[in-house]
Subunit: 543 residues, 2 copies
């Protein structure tokens, strides 16, 4: 669900920690988040403003991110834990702490677990703070809409480990489909460009230009004679250049008419576009570099049948009690632990006392719950920013496959809708679920959030039709989610740098994707849960 | 199954046609192959020796590749066709010509259809000219071994159209997995390199070097001031450079220890490798550019359950008779057609007379069948080269997933085994089928072909263990195919430039993947079948 580069996220966040809590807490916190870093490299104050992070030496001993095998068996026997929220962080905490002997109770405001790990199918209801939508998709295994997280990086090994243990079936998810399109109303006459052509021309143009410089002896200070020869050879492969290292054209770019099925011109070569043209708007490069990101590279995965298979699998295995429809109304510190006041579906107030609390409630929701946290904890909760993520999905004839030979992946546009996602499953069925808009954040996200569901759908259809005219007539049963309007979530994912919330307030600990190096990812929720558990175990181990 | 760039294949082949049969036949043949090209661009005699093809103008009218909708209904009523070979080309010919009213008979030497579209499962027997192997894999839906074609480009729309019509379920196939490895015994101390690091350092190094040249005003002849600024901005994204356009390091490359699960150093940044180092051996660039190729780019597809699902689907729908175990022993021209002599399983000789023949038998097999083809047809059959493709597969614990976070894709090595393929399905099961060697052709292919099955397996285990030591102890039930030793195939795919065989000899036409622009691909077999059909229809339409 996140588009952030881990390096940037990490550095922004570490810089934040450094400012807020000083070196020692910072070191421990970094380890918690799954980061090994030295204090020296964290101290770089330019972190948040540079594009690329600096290299750093190996982490010192003892700075490793916690893992379940670190915790002694039975360390929690006789201790109680109140876990607020049955999202991934809360369920991981419950699962692992129960294994350690803790007696856990999970309070979940909604009728089922998973939090933002949510998949919508026929008949499901989307309730926002000011609207209700019902999903009108046909009933079909392949017609599901992951409105929250939708992909898993193959190196998100903690989440994948749980999937393996729980037998959650996985299949490949495609980010980078070279047959998908890139579209700007202001370039190429508004005609979508097949991604492979942009990729090929970018590589070819860069390789040819560098070759020119090398051949003009402009880099003789930097390169030996042997280097020059080697790099010129390399560049011919890299850009598919001719023997003179000119970029003329390449079959990598595809053939004329490839954007539609039925072309008989296979083998014809498209003329090369000038690098200057592609460089004149950073749109092309930003979007083609997206899947270079560490957490967005191939291969990626998705659960067969919908991301909520993971939520359901956790839910089935959290052997402790989850109390559903339990809306927390107060969080208090007590002499030896915490007291939680919550309402049940009958409107009664209930009290839960525990030795420890783990609060995974998203900050925008938590900010509205009376508590006696420290001033600095309250301040960070109050100011924590969340993305205005919006997704709008439709059922449609699989026109992207049938008309355009596109099987999965993402088309990018610089209109507000930002992305069109094609399903990575159910190939060649009669219909499929297509994402007409996925807006990460920013003014476009805020703008869509402010619209009514029908207005969002209409705007999506209008903009998406500029890319695929079929949207105007074939996109059916539109339904959307603006995460800032979803009760008990109030945002897509955390975007502020966590700091104070990485430390406990008395016996109350905090977790959730927002308190991790991987904001917006389920793996981040797990890392944050491990960090909270580690803090509690450290206290009980010390006894 | 092919690693050839279409552009190179096309140009080599068109140059060959130009030399052999002159302009008119060449033009028609090019159209047949699905290629629209002008005579001018085909005439380039340097075609076969350049890395990249030249651009060409749009094809003239009438040069379009044939499609079924071109052929008039019932054009074949009352006519008979003998089709030799029930591979994809033969079955497509039978299917489409039956629809046109032709009465087709297919002679297939083996006991089932599909030709090289073959999938091996538990208990299946691989017979080579001098050996017999039996597959010892456990019985499991996911333990199958595609020994022939294994992937489908999403723009192979003819094949995918049949898959849609036949309801062959598809799933995503990954070529380019950035978590897979690159390995050379002679580089980095023989330690495998995670692909994402090589990709990131290559992009970063190229972008930084070009930035240096631009900043030194070395390209002021080529670039305006505005171009320079735009391209420098672009290069920062492209290579993940810092604000001074230096490449220091990038999270795109991953983190230390990423090659194994359990690393807690996520977020740590690897130091950048010098471009000079990566350029010193073209191995790195060749392998990382592989999936830039038009037919190897993402997204690619595979049938769920094995590639032979396609063969079985065709077989079920070829309503005409396929005569199995019919070994062709003579192919003769008659006054008005063709006469085929074949043996049946009882050793009896049979005669099949037809108005037309379509010969899809691979050239190395055809060369051994007595016939009265023209001298030039016989000469081309006799000299047609085929790849020495070899594949060796194993059943193993999914150590690539469990130990290394690799989910599908290809690891490359410059040892003879060339490639290790991880399965793109059955993720997180207890065991999987791993390809320990896939050799396209060349001396390594010839060498492995010359070995006994057990020697091939032993050599594969020995070399693959240099990449994954687990091969030495966990790779079980090795089984392999050397296509040059498979009866009735005698090669992987055609690699010569087709020429005379694109034209009929009397009423005998030729088809098969080798007679297409897409040698080695099922889509090529379909194109070749359409070409043969088109030639026959043209005659009957003219009546």
């Amino acid at each position: 669900m996140s588009h952030k580069k881990p390096g940037i996220a990490r550095r922004e966040f570490l810089a934040g920690i450094g400012q807020a809590v000083g070196g020692s807490a910072m070191l421990r916190a970094m380890a918690a988040m799954g980061v090994g870093m030295t204090a020296a490299s964290c101290g770089s104050s330019s972190a948040a403003s540079t594009q690329a992070p600096q290299p750093s030496p190996p982490p010192p001993t003892g700075m490793l991110s916690p893992r379940p095998q670190d915790w002694p068996p039975n360390v929690g026997v006789g201790k109680t834990v109140a876990i607020l929220g049955a999202g991934i962080a809360g369920m991981v905490a419950a699962l692992e702490m129960t294994r350690l002997g803790y007696s856990c109770t999970v309070l979940e405001a909604q009728a089922s677990a998973g939090g933002r790990v949510r998949t919508i199918r026929s008949g499901d209801v989307v309730t926002e703070v000011d609207s209700i939508q019902t999903c009108q998709f046909d009933i079909s295994d392949s017609l599901y809409f992951n409105v929250g997280p939708s992909r898993i990086a193959q190196h998100h090994e903690l989440l994948l480990g749980y999937c393996r243990d729980f037998a959650v079936a996985l299949e490949t998810f495609t980010n980078d489909n070279r047959g998908a399109w890139l579209h700007s109303p202001n370039a190429f006459g508004g005609q979508p460009q097949v991604a492979r052509r942009v990729h090929a021309d970018t590589r070819g143009g860069i390789a040819a230009l560098l070759s020119t410089a090398i051949n003009q002896n402009a880099l003789d200070q930097e390169l030996t004679v042997a280097d020059k020869a080697n790099i010129l050879t390399m560049l011919r492969q890299y850009g598919d250049l001719d023997f003179s290292n000119n970029y003329v054209a390449t079959p990598r770019a595809g053939f004329p008419g490839q954007e539609n099925i039925g072309s008989r011109q296979r083998g014809e070569i498209l003329s090369a576009r000038q690098l200057q043209q592609l460089a004149s708007d950073i749109f092309w490069e930003l979007r083609t570099s997206f899947s270079q990101g560490f957490d967005q590279q191939p291969a990626m995965l998705q659960p067969v049948g919908g991301m909520d298979r993971i939520a359901r699998a956790f839910e089935a295995r959290v052997t402790t009690d989850i109390i559903y429809k339990a809306v927390v109304s107060e969080i208090r510190k007590t002499a030896n632990g915490t007291r939680i006041i919550y309402t049940d579906p009958f409107g009664s107030f209930n009290t839960l006392d525990a030795d420890y609390g783990i609060v995974t409630i998203p900050a925008p929701v938590l900010a509205g719950i009376p508590n006696d946290f420290s001033d600095s904890h309250q301040a960070e909760v109050a100011s924590f920013q969340y993305s205005s993520a919006v997704r709008i999905g439709f059922q449609a004839r699989r026109f992207w496959e049938q008309d355009h030979n596109i099987y999965g992946g993402i088309t990018w546009t610089d209109q507000d809708i930002t992305q069109i996602w094609y399903p990575n499953h159910g190939f060649q069925g009669s219909s499929g679920m297509i994402l007409g808009a996925y807006i990460f954040d920013g003014p476009a996200g805020a703008g869509f959030t402010g619209l009514s569901p029908q207005q969002r759908i209409d705007t999506t259809v209008q903009q998406a039709s500029n890319v695929h005219p079929q949207f105007a007539t074939e996109a059916l049963h539109g339904i959307g989610v603006a995460w800032k309007k979803i009760p008990f979530q109030l945002g897509g994912w955390g975007t502020s740098n966590p700091s104070t919330l990485l430390t406990a307030d008395g016996n109350i600990f905090f977790a959730g994707e927002h308190l991790s190096i991987l904001q917006g990812w389920q793996e981040g929720a797990i890392l944050s849960a491990y960090w909270a558990i580690d803090g509690i175990v450290a206290r009980d181990r010390a006894i």
